[in-house]
């Protein structure tokens, strides 16, 4: 049908596509391409006025030899492992449980409640959790009191803060992350269950022999794609739930970069840390994307 228009008219028409695209391209250029180009300051001693001298890998050498960096990297990897590997089965189990609810109204209620925290900001969630974990008035310690246990100041305890991160992340994301599994469950052919029912299979048998195998490709996709974000352990959460007493176990790469760069104004040093994180992240995301695409046909794009 496009053949009805002359070549000149078609070119004019398609030039208009660039008018539609222009605002997005300008945005990409200013807020993404320029900052990526600006990462060259990692190899300079950045100065606000005048020329910034080239210093090679100086900032990287300082970074990799600093004990603070080792701590921060370790914290990032531990927290990511908790949030990606340890957390992994929870949304699946939740989806399986929701799938067992027979009354539509009850099902909708549970889903409605479970998805809600995903839409709250980390500032709000931090506020809610700080109140709930308060050693004097918080609900968590009231529960401990019921069982005769002494109150714990979770937010300032190095032994507990990672579990606070884990629990609040689960609180926020469990429901939301189960959606992809619920959608996969809906696609399972009901005749499989009917046939199993006729053969006398119990609920648990049906789950083990039909549901789990059918969910397996989705599990693989989700797990692999999440691995791509291993270097970002969740800036907003840590930023809002950390205080000075736990910083040695809570500080992650992104909070470190923020503090070095925008609090201490060591722009070049902070950018070197960002570049390190970005390159590892890039390798992870690309390999997980192509890995997932090869194994399941679905990647990030």
């Amino acid at each position: 049908m496009t053949g009805t228009a002359s070549l000149g008219a078609r070119m004019k028409r398609d030039a208009f596509l660039y008018v539609l695209l222009a605002p997005a391209l300008v945005y990409f250029f200013i807020f993404h391409i320029l900052p990526i180009a600006g990462m060259s300051i990692a190899f300079q001693d950045f100065r606000l006025v005048g020329k910034s001298p080239f210093v090679g890998f100086k900032h990287f050498i300082i970074l990799f030899s600093s004990p603070a960096f080792t701590t921060v990297l370790t914290n990032t990897l531990i927290l990511s492992a908790m949030k990606i590997i340890l957390y992994f089965p929870f949304p699946i189990v939740f989806a399986l449980m929701v799938n067992e609810i027979r009354f539509t109204a009850a099902r909708k209620f549970v889903q409605g409640v479970a998805y809600l925290p995903h839409f709250l900001s980390w500032v709000v969630i931090a506020g809610v959790w700080i109140a709930f974990l308060s050693p004097s008035t918080g609900g968590a310690n009231e529960l401990r009191h019921l069982f005769g246990l002494a109150p714990i100041d979770f937010m300032t305890s190095k032994a507990h803060i990672r579990w606070v991160f884990f629990a609040s992340e689960t609180w926020r994301s469990l429901g939301w992350d189960s959606i992809i599994y619920l959608a996969a469950l809906l696609r399972i052919n009901p005749s499989l269950y009917e046939a199993a029912g006729i053969d006398g299979a119990s609920t648990t048998q049906k789950m083990r022999l039909i549901t789990i195998p059918e969910l397996f490709p989705t599990m693989v996709t989700v797990f692999i794609l999440n691995l791509g974000f291993f270097m970002s352990a969740g800036f907003d959460q840590v930023f809002n739930m950390t205080n000075d007493s736990v910083i040695s176990v809570a500080d992650i790469l992104d909070t470190f970069v923020y503090r070095i760069g925008l609090v201490n104004f060591q722009y070049s040093f902070a950018t070197a840390a960002s570049l390190f994180k970005g390159i590892i992240g890039l390798v992870l995301i690309l390999s997980t994307h192509f890995g997932a695409k090869r194994m399941t046909g679905k990647g990030l794009w």
């Binding site: 596509l17 605002p23 008035t137 950018t271």
Partner: protein
């Protein structure tokens, strides 16, 4: 027969256990939120009676909300948040829809190169310092534009919308073209009406993103009169810094407030920040669920 009865009894036990666990999960999500709601409405003299697990206010009082409503910084921050959310979401939707349309046209010259740019942006982040320096250099410091524009097009949302636009039947587009419609009219009268649930979902997501934004506001704005609500909330609730909310005075300089507890005031601030999300939430559930069922989202 006997085995069958035993297995169905076990099934019932299993179901009961699942029901109980789900109920407990709902309680874990709701009780901390309802507790803050109850705290914010409790009679100021009885605030300390409320258990950390209580969800029914002790007595009833609106003083927390009266104090907040009388606070110029707080009210101003709500207006700032509404402004940033409204303007930001409108810009997001317009730019994302236009870009998604252009990028899904097979005749777009240089399409492959442009898609490569989109993917690079998706997989590689410059980090906060270079972005900060760009914002500084182009003169957006201490303007709300920095907070509105830093995420003007979310590449993930762009790709979602492109998938929807790809699904629009070619025949419809060709028919519109034969009738003399250009790209602008095809976008407005064919693509957008056919992708309503996707547009609505993205609008809601973008809206929630802007409403919840605090970090860019914190680094780009230095005039407290421009602060959005989440930033005031962060200073007061997370950092326990009352100066942004109350100014240099103390809570005790307010009438009636000699009896008001900071805990209740904090709870009220959190509740106010949640309310708009709660108001949009039924719409989010409706459109997002429809989107998932139609198969284009979260995959």
């Amino acid at each position: 027969m006997h085995a069958h009865i035993r297995s169905s009894a076990r099934d019932r036990g299993f179901r009961l256990l699942v029901g109980f666990l789900l109920l407990a999960l709902c309680a874990i999500v709701l009780v901390p939120l309802l507790n803050l709601l109850a705290l914010s409405f409790s009679d100021t003299r009885r605030v300390s009676e409320l258990s950390g697990l209580g969800i029914i206010p002790k007595g009833f009082s609106l003083i927390v909300y009266r104090v907040l409503a009388a606070n110029p910084f707080f009210m101003r921050s709500i207006l700032n948040s509404i402004y940033i959310t409204a303007v930001g979401t409108a810009i997001n939707l317009a730019m994302t829809a236009m870009a998604a349309y252009a990028l899904t046209r097979p005749t777009l010259p240089g399409r492959r190169l442009l898609m490569l740019v989109v993917i690079v942006i998706m997989v590689f982040e410059a980090g906060i310092v270079p972005e900060y320096l760009v914002v500084k250099r182009i003169g957006l410091m201490n303007t709300r534009w920095a907070v509105i524009l830093y995420n003007a097009v979310n590449v993930y949302y762009l790709i979602i919308l492109m998938r929807f636009f790809d699904e629009v039947p070619r025949d419809l587009i060709d028919a519109a073209r034969v009738d003399g419609a250009g790209h602008g009219r095809i976008l407005r009268h064919v693509m957008l009406p056919l992708s309503q649930s996707a547009i609505a979902t993205l609008g809601l997501f973008y809206g929630v993103m802007h409403w919840n934004e605090y970090f860019r506001a914190g680094i780009y704005l230095n005039d407290p009169l421009k602060y959005p609500l989440q930033l005031i909330l962060r200073q007061f609730v997370v950092l326990d810094d009352t100066s942004a909310l109350i100014g240099s005075g103390t809570l005790y300089s307010y009438d009636e407030a000699a009896r008001l507890s900071y805990a209740a005031l904090r709870a009220g601030t959190i509740i106010v920040a949640i309310i708009p999300v709660l108001m949009l939430y039924p719409l989010i559930l409706k459109y997002y669920t429809r989107g998932v069922m139609e198969g284009g989202l979260k995959e």
